[in-house]
């Protein structure tokens, strides 16, 4: 019997040639999509002259100059003045002095990066929390006009968010939310919550009601049952939703440019401004972009385990 099954499966199993073709396509695609990433990564470790060399240098002497420039502001000084200083304290001191400059202080990159973290993770937290609660309600209770409400929630995604940028800009000015982390968190939460409700409703619909009902008969309140039974089983959906929300909030550029300029500015509008400071400083841009990629990467890798659907399979017979 198992023999017969194996044979039946091998009919649809790819032939070695098909496998090779598929692998070639995948590898080619991966290379094409990774070239920009590799370019950014390499640029971050080039010196400014190398970064604008033509033809582009694939082999180069790596340097931390980009990273030093990213985190510092520098002033040009005379050779005499630099001579009069003591020995360089850090590697960045050394690199900077070779360019006839000294470090004047920290750049805004670290605080902007911190803003990005607060705003992106904060709005993701709120969007997913609100989303899971309303998705649960839509999934479990008889809500009057539920379909219309769900459509309304979805309809907020039907136009590009930037279409309402001007009214939001004016509203935020009046409300004092302009250039505040709170304002950005509210905005990104509002944009993401519709996605969260719709995604999570699908996941919660698939969790049989019997689980909560069993828990409620066993002496739990609905709220308890929600936390003890529904949430752990919705972990997969919550992880997926959180990643989607975070990607949007982390990468958002247009609103960030419009609504933040100082205190609450996030990294995406900040990074391009590096170019303007003291010539075309591509290595600093490369360094800033490389670091900017890391939190999303870490977050996705951490949640990868929960994305595996298998954990909730099989304990309820369909």
């Amino acid at each position: 019997m198992s023999q017969a099954l194996t044979t039946a499966h091998s009919v649809v199993a790819p032939t070695p040639l098909a496998r090779r073709i598929a692998a070639t396509i995948v590898i080619l695609y991966a290379l094409v999509s990774m070239i920009p990433l590799a370019w950014i990564l390499m640029t971050g470790f080039k010196t400014p002259p190398d970064s604008i060399a033509y033809p582009p240098k694939l082999v180069f002497q790596p340097s931390l100059e980009g990273y030093c420039n990213l985190f510092t502001t520098r002033t040009r000084q005379t050779a005499d003045y630099i001579q009069s200083l003591g020995p360089p304290q850090t590697i960045c001191d050394e690199i900077t002095r070779k360019r006839d400059m000294v470090i004047a202080g920290p750049s805004n990159y670290a605080p902007r990066f911190w803003n990005s973290l607060i705003i992106a993770f904060g709005s993701t937290f709120f969007a997913v929390s609100l989303g899971v609660l309303s998705a649960y309600a839509f999934s479990r209770f008889r809500i009057p006009l539920a379909d219309d409400l769900l459509f309304f929630i979805l309809s907020t995604r039907m136009m590009p968010p930037i279409a309402v940028a001007i009214p939001i800009y004016l509203m935020y000015r009046k409300l004092g939310l302009s250039d505040t982390a709170l304002g950005m968190i509210l905005l990104y939460t509002a944009v993401n919550v519709s996605l969260a409700v719709w995604l999570l409703k699908g996941f919660i619909d698939e969790i049989p009601r019997e689980y909560e009902e069993a828990a409620m008969i066993d002496g739990y309140t609905r709220l308890h049952a929600f936390f003890k039974v529904v949430l752990p089983q919705a972990a997969t959906g919550i992880a997926a939703t959180a990643i989607f929300c975070l990607i949007f909030a982390w990468n958002e550029y247009a609103f960030a440019v419009l609504l933040t300029s100082g205190e609450a500015q996030t990294a995406p509008p900040f990074i391009p401004t590096i170019i303007g400071e003291g010539g075309m400083d591509w290595p600093a841009v490369g360094a800033g972009t490389t670091l900017f990629l890391i939190p999303l990467l870490v977050f996705t890798v951490l949640l990868r385990k929960h994305l595996l659907r298998g954990i909730t399979f099989g304990a309820v017979r369909k």
Binding site: G219, T221, T312, A315, R317
Partner: protein, 337 residues
């Protein structure tokens, strides 16, 4: 332990009437089985007793109290679902301990451990306590689900076809086990099934339910021997009762208005007779007994015979009725004859 009283309960879902004026008294310590086809309202009845549904009309009394405003958690009932609904993110032990850890109970951990282990050994799943609940076979899952009900020793057990998804052997084993547990604990059980064998073997009382109404309530023996209607008669007995037009076979005086005669094996006397009115079409050998299929004009009769039956296909037999059941044109039983 407690008694249950359903008083004229009705429940509608949109345009569908699930339960229609159902009244049922279940005494303390009784094993009551509700038997009926899919969609008869069995599960809805259970859910109303559990408090998972609110009746549109009527009242549910549990242990002498009107349960109308009681949350499921405060009814001291337990529910074994048709789908075992074990929590997939918890181990078998944690599944069994789940009811004891509820905020309504707060049992100390050592006591939880003891009770879980007792129940696990009773149900022969003690060696699986550390497993994930998803790593069990169907039978083990169902035993864990039953164990989750037992571990609390509630006043009332509600069971919704808990054995329907198991294979025949396991179903037989668990049937005996459930009956034994019920007798040991003296538990009040309301059990829903569409399986007549489960109903006959386990119940103290059977309630036959159809289209949301209770048709007949009685002991398994009463329901089998003394059905009120064709419908109830058809639900019990293997092979199914033979329904023949009144007067087709010779018997004494028919009751007035008798239209249908219901004859089970025990109502049929068979004799080999060349001039008999029935023809043996074929004999099914089941090992311990035989199914005998007879043709009588355009009517079929199926009955049981011992394995050493003298009948073989092609034989002519004389069929005689012995105290059969009579029904009128609407299928209502006629007792006076």
């Amino acid at each position: 332990m407690a008694d249950i009283s359903l008083r004229n309960v009705s429940k509608r879902f949109k345009s569908v009437t699930a339960i229609d004026g159902l009244s049922l008294e279940i005494a303390d310590g009784q094993f009551t089985v509700l038997l009926g086809p899919t969609g008869a309202g069995k599960t809805t009845t259970l859910r109303i007793v559990a408090g998972l549904e609110k009746p549109d009309q009527g009242e549910v009394w549990i242990d002498g109290r009107n349960a109308q405003d009681l949350e499921p958690a405060s009814r001291d009932v337990t529910f074994v679902f048709q789908q075992y609904s074990l929590y997939p993110h918890l181990s078998v032990f944690d599944n069994l301990a789940f009811p004891l850890r509820s905020p309504a109970r707060r049992v100390a951990e050592p006591e939880i451990r003891k009770r879980v282990e007792d129940v696990a050994s009773l149900l022969r799943i003690a060696h699986k306590l550390k497993n994930k609940s998803t790593q069990l076979s169907g039978g083990e899952m169902q035993r864990v689900a039953i164990g989750r009900a037992l571990v609390r020793s509630p006043a009332i057990y509600l069971m919704d076809e808990p054995l329907s998804s198991l294979d025949a052997k396991l179903r037989g084993d668990l049937r005996l086990e459930l009956k034994r547990i019920q007798q040991d604990l003296g538990a009040t059980i309301l059990y829903v099934t569409h399986d007549q064998i489960e109903a006959m073997t386990m119940a103290n009382r059977i309630g036959v339910i159809d289209k949301g109404s209770l048709i007949q309530v009685g002991s398994p023996r009463e329901i089998y021997e003394d059905p009120d209607s064709v419908y109830v008669a058809q639900r019990f007995g293997q092979p199914q009762i033979n329904l023949l037009p009144a007067g087709l076979l010779p018997n004494g005086a028919l009751p007035r208005n008798a239209v249908t005669v219901g004859a089970r094996t025990e109502h049929l006397g068979l004799k080999k007779d060349r001039s008999g009115q029935a023809l043996v079409e074929w004999v099914e050998h089941l090992g311990d007994q035989n199914h005998l299929h007879l043709r009588l004009g355009e009517h079929q009769i199926t009955t049981l015979t011992p394995p050493d039956t003298p009948f073989k296909s092609g034989d002519q037999v004389a069929v005689e009725l012995m105290k059969p059941l009579y029904f009128d044109a609407r299928g209502v039983r006629l007792r006076s004859a």
